[in-house]
Symmetry: C2
Subunit: 794 residues, 2 copies
Amino acid sequence: MNIVPETATNQAAPLSASLLKNIHAYWRAANYLSVGQLYLRDNPLLKKPLKLEHIKNMLLGHWGTTPGQNFIYTHLNRTIKQHDLDMIYISGPGHGGPAVVAGTYLEGTYSEVYPAITADEDGLKKLFTQFSYPGGISSHASPQTPGSIHEGGELGYSLSHAFGAVLDNPKLIVACVVGDGEAETGPLATAWHSNKFLNPLTDGTVLPILHLNGYKISNPTVLARITHEELEQLFRGYGWNPIFVEGDDPMVMHQLMAAALDEAITQIQAIKQRADNNDLARPRWPMIILRSPKGWTGPKTVDGQQIEGTFRSHQVPISVSASAPAEHLQQLESWMKSYHPEELFDNNGTLKAELTDLVPKGNRRMGANPQANGGLLMHDLRIPEFRDYMVDVKDHGITGEGDVHVSGRFLRDLIKLNPDNFRIFGPDETVSNRLEEVFAVTDRQWNAGIKEHDEFLAPAGRVMEMLSEHQCEGWLEGYLLTGRHGLFNCYEAFIHIVDSMFNQHAKWLKMTLEIPWRRKIASLNILLTSTVWRQDHNGFTHQDPGFIDHVINKKSEIVRVYLAPDSNCLLSIMDHCLRSRHYVNVIIAGKHPSPQWLNMEEAVDHCTRGIGIWDWASNDQDCETDLVMACSGDVPTLETLAAVAILREHLPELKIRVINVVDLLKLERQVDHPHGLNDKDFDSLFTTNKPVIFAFHGYPWLIHRLTYNRTNNHNIHVRGYKEEGTITTSFDMTVLNEMDRFHLVMDAIDRLPQTGSRGTYLKQSLQDKLTQHKEYIDLNGEDMPEIRNWKWQQ
Amino acid sequence: MNIVPETATNQAAPLSASLLKNIHAYWRAANYLSVGQLYLRDNPLLKKPLKLEHIKNMLLGHWGTTPGQNFIYTHLNRTIKQHDLDMIYISGPGHGGPAVVAGTYLEGTYSEVYPAITADEDGLKKLFTQFSYPGGISSHASPQTPGSIHEGGELGYSLSHAFGAVLDNPKLIVACVVGDGEAETGPLATAWHSNKFLNPLTDGTVLPILHLNGYKISNPTVLARITHEELEQLFRGYGWNPIFVEGDDPMVMHQLMAAALDEAITQIQAIKQRADNNDLARPRWPMIILRSPKGWTGPKTVDGQQIEGTFRSHQVPISVSASAPAEHLQQLESWMKSYHPEELFDNNGTLKAELTDLVPKGNRRMGANPQANGGLLMHDLRIPEFRDYMVDVKDHGITGEGDVHVSGRFLRDLIKLNPDNFRIFGPDETVSNRLEEVFAVTDRQWNAGIKEHDEFLAPAGRVMEMLSEHQCEGWLEGYLLTGRHGLFNCYEAFIHIVDSMFNQHAKWLKMTLEIPWRRKIASLNILLTSTVWRQDHNGFTHQDPGFIDHVINKKSEIVRVYLAPDSNCLLSIMDHCLRSRHYVNVIIAGKHPSPQWLNMEEAVDHCTRGIGIWDWASNDQDCETDLVMACSGDVPTLETLAAVAILREHLPELKIRVINVVDLLKLERQVDHPHGLNDKDFDSLFTTNKPVIFAFHGYPWLIHRLTYNRTNNHNIHVRGYKEEGTITTSFDMTVLNEMDRFHLVMDAIDRLPQTGSRGTYLKQSLQDKLTQHKEYIDLNGEDMPEIRNWKWQQ
């Protein structure tokens, strides 16, 4: 492994006296605007003596991280200008909102997207008032912030987003500020290892800036309280080359920070140069460790307690209100005046020209960089004709090779057509999930050493695999947010690991829909396989179909859920999802050989409608239906059709309708979800008064939740997973949860008194079958031949 | 910081020739049993030539990690005996089931808890057959495995469990094997920092053994492919003292491993000695990095492909079946015979005496250590009388100081009474969540340096705070699993971070209920506050009440959900939960000053029933009810009562019943949850035909899910959080989601045609109020005085 020489160009004082003066002034301006946002609703330039009437009624917001981030943003501007960099900024620490707003306001981008927030006194007043104000903007970087692809609500995902953003973006540098509190989270702690997955030639650069300001809400941070030696070892162990900037004297710190950034850029350029010369060995990328006081330049003490440099500066450091001590107002005024606004803004409230000169131009401004509004840059995927990959279903029920496996060929060719615009992410499960066809045309991207017996590893590849669902999700989010496309494949049970990341992304999508200057991005596609019903071999710990329940709590404009009954349907769903925009699409499909029900034409028609009667399996044509057998998901569909076959053989007079649901949210009312059926259509499918036996892939009560207000809801009887599982056979999984063909038939008979004694007799014989089944697998460790070899007979 | 000298006692060859011989034989025995579990259903001692009929029909399981874990387990036995250690074993890598089963079988504990699995040929046959067999045991360490407190299903939590186990367990050493795949997960990556939270005097020792076998399912691992220098830096940076054991020659490796373990124990004893002398400075604890081939001692090549030392040894390395190549059977036989079972077991299949001598005695055996069956050791908490902390509610609706805050005093005294048996865990939110009263009697435990302005930090303390929900949850789980008690307090929205950990723990609890020799443990108590309705200041990203939805998918025997309407109810709920066993209790409560409804007697009565009519707020006594106003959660209760006040003022002829739900699962049917109301009781509360307006803390459809099959379900109209939020006032949060008092009244009127024109008029005036409300907060940034100052009038 080559390592960039660590000495290089580090000069003690790279800033000239006049540049130093201006940079310091610019930082003061940003700090001034930050304090203004926390406190003021009037008198933004302090032209008048500060009075309580100028102060907001409720003081909310976070000061602690803000001056440090202003410091970083100011210096990044200088570095961008000096080196003509294509750079965006990610604000990892929770609540640095005032800093990113100040930074983008000073550079002019804020006023461009929000024309009411002008670069004058009136604009300043509005800028201050809206912050942490009802209906206004939040205390963290948010979708409303120009230049942001990362929301500082929950912590832990900044570095993952940064790495996702630079994939296939060779010129881009993401300056990613990581908070030392955030750095304690698990996802962030493993994200440092992302450097083993980067290609220095075809990907861009993440420049992490670990901001050690020492404290969280009311505790010190771990990384701020270990020795310098340990800290350096830790980051060198993670494979980085840390450059330290430590202190609290602004004039010294400006020179140190400028030198550190120049040094980092020099190292990055050297790495890029080597990559251009085809040396792709994993480099030791630079990072900056900035140790500065929490609440830097804020009040030193208030009411006799130390504020600057302690956890007490985390939020609003001085309470100012009618009930607070009177001197607090004076302290606030002194604090704000310590920045000397009169030197920074002209009488109109406009930033002075010598400071404006420090700002990069046009799209080089971090708030204006189109990378942070990925929809602007997004190209449509070139998608192969999915029908070309179809399974030739001559007879309903022929055995396929595994639905996901078939889609693997489609994805393989998709990758060929989109060599720099589409990636697959997964926690070392892409082969296990039967997508191995993609490795015919690409590899797993991996930069941590390749050995003789490894498979499908290369410095560049379209598949990203790390055993961290957090990383997979975070990388993909960053990739999408910067205008590209992708797919996350995951074992169904373990997708819950990213429940909270999904939440934050879904909330981001909902909010960006409401912001006119934000462009739609590609959907986040999550392919769940190795599902509950086929985790018989891994057992109870690997069984959980509840991600759907979690997902559909989010806004109906954002979430879609598809359950593929077979390979042709999965192809149609995949095609649809890859073309869609600004959704989270959850696709659930099987990877094992299983029956194929629909030919391609039928599949397209069925998936387009999302729900429908399978006429070829039904016998209620032209007469009154006695029973609806509904199903959603591959295994439930199999068990339902097997149950229908039993019923039609033994009780042929019953008129049965078979319904399959691909698009789960068709079940919701139209008023609740845009895909929802209106009541008339729902009733015409499910009848208004006949028994419905519904075999569902997930937890059964989800179907009740979706249908509780339908006319026939009290007749809908649902079977699904109810947390019964162990190591067993795949069919026995359905028996344990009473969703097998035999239970479904018995459920139907219980609701069909007209079946009389023949129904009772059939039930008894199925009970015997279940006993037989148990005995057979106990003895043989596999299912009875009549189960294993069952086929639908037309 | 003091650092243990790193030279110490490391001898090149601590094992005598005869001990070396026996240890190697013992390891071979464990490996032999492991291969037997993967393949055989008969002929366990290979007394007959191996035939297909001796092989299981389905070959499932994982070989890759197993020989390495057998190696570790064997050497730990030697170390326990030599140093008389109190040690348990945590198997972190996913699927090391065959190893822990072999280890506990050889030491005799397996046969003690499963008497049918005898220490002879018949027992071996059963042992082999049950593995990865329908109804049998899984391929990872599981609740069925004696000595295990950690299930190897999902990855990432082994170290957190280990640290939780050693808290307040000063003599205990947890040998925690961490897989190099597992080490890529976020939770594991931050768990290494747990050493900053350990007290060397009052807590025990975690001895991590990082098992670098190089591969995951089909990829290499990150930690196995970085340089030795980086690896050492990383772990020294994490604050550990790594001892390396690397190689593949068993005879060399035995000596290296024995020396490494002796060295580690020497270092641990020195640290403990220093702590006894009152030197509590954070020590550099030892850890072992074991680099050994994946699938060590297994087949070198199969079908021309390298197996040992590659990812191909991850699962079953040789396929043996009627359809597999015939020579595979022969290869398997040679492989198994390479361990020379005839040297290890006597003719009856019993382990030979000279090998049995290597096993620790009685409870020193890792499979028999009662720490791993925590219910055996658990003592009841000493719980203060919760009524002593009551709020004196003289009038319904007086303003309290914050419900959680009141419980803080109860917890403070609980801590005083249980100085080594109870801990509070939280991600730096204990003060923010208003539990700061506990710091009157304890501190946050912290061993990473304390500075002048820090608060409530000490080397020993009952509160564990790290900014990682994963760590908090994992530590608490480990603490409970070893027989202690605790509480996790967390912002409601971010508890989703541990959704998947909750899943695994709930599954563990369900399975252990079914295992006779497992004892019940204390419940996992999760206190959620900073809830959705009071995250008006942090905004949309901090709003998600969906953890309940997630939780109630798990088995009804395990999960409980309580929503406290006020302080006295919360006290009663806390007391109940702390006494309960083997549940996950989710408690949702407010931290802000809010109305207090019930005096202590009423609260106890209400919480005991879990659901009930609030007679003092209702006016339907002795007459037919017109309207049911139901509520669950503190803010919904407030809005409901304010709505009732409006209705009773303006439409006094309406007969209104107010129902409050504390125990959410009362709403489920009795057949679905043990707490569920029977239909008669439900109907008598909610009527069979009157409109019900239900204001719910969480997503509204959850109530529909719980009540879809109740008689009156079609009349239940639910308001709750529907993903509408921004920075605003707390009352406006309810308006945005239409759960405010005005919307509730309008909803009621819509369902009460008898209110006629007076109802219409009232609706119109409330619409005007809503407009007025919006205008007021836009202007003032706070709620109208009539909202802020509203009080229930009796």
